[in-house]
Symmetry: C2
Subunit: 106 residues, 2 copies
């Protein structure tokens, strides 16, 4: 996508079955994804615990991220940095609207 623009609000599909993960850009240092949630949550007792750091922002919608020691509610514009190997899961995403995430793995 170098020097070609991509709009994160384009092609937002309401897909009730699974979250949609769309790779927008990747090189050796970084991976940028658009994620669209429509009410999906992480499976019970499932935790993400990945080796990459992750910076994530909610561009639209509403979600709750769960960490081992706390929960964080994320509205439009909210961002959070999740260091590598920090356990987290998606506890809630809005059922009334699509939740659009920007995720930067680095």
């Amino acid at each position: 996508m170098d020097k070609n623009k991509y709009n994160f609000f384009d092609k937002v599909t309401v897909y009730k079955e699974n979250e949609i993960f769309l790779k927008i850009f990747e090189n050796n240092n970084i991976k940028i994804e658009k994620i669209v949630s429509n009410g999906q949550i992480s499976p019970q007792n499932f935790w993400y615990e990945q080796k990459e750091n992750e910076f994530v922002m909610v561009l639209d919608g509403f979600a709750i991220l769960e960490f081992e020691e706390k929960e964080v509610e994320l509205v439009k514009g909210d961002s959070i940095n999740i260091p590598a190997f920090v356990k987290h899961r998606v506890k809630y995403t809005s059922k009334k609207e699509s939740t659009i995430w920007l995720a930067v793995f680095y």
Copy 2:
């Protein structure tokens, strides 16, 4: 900001004199900034040509980025990847509203 949220629409100051650059997060691999423009543009004949790659998204407002061979209009949700050392400048930012940028330097 690890595991503490930051909202990019918070504290958007309309400051006519200069663009505002706010560092949101930085480590050895990455730097994340919020930039707020209120009509400012790059000085004439000035080009950014930095050694970091930059992924940038317009979260609100309107801007035009100029490259040597083309111009790219950016509305809300538009993102673009600018490889290191690629010359670019801000040709225009909206005078009617604040333009809020997310910039990821990596």
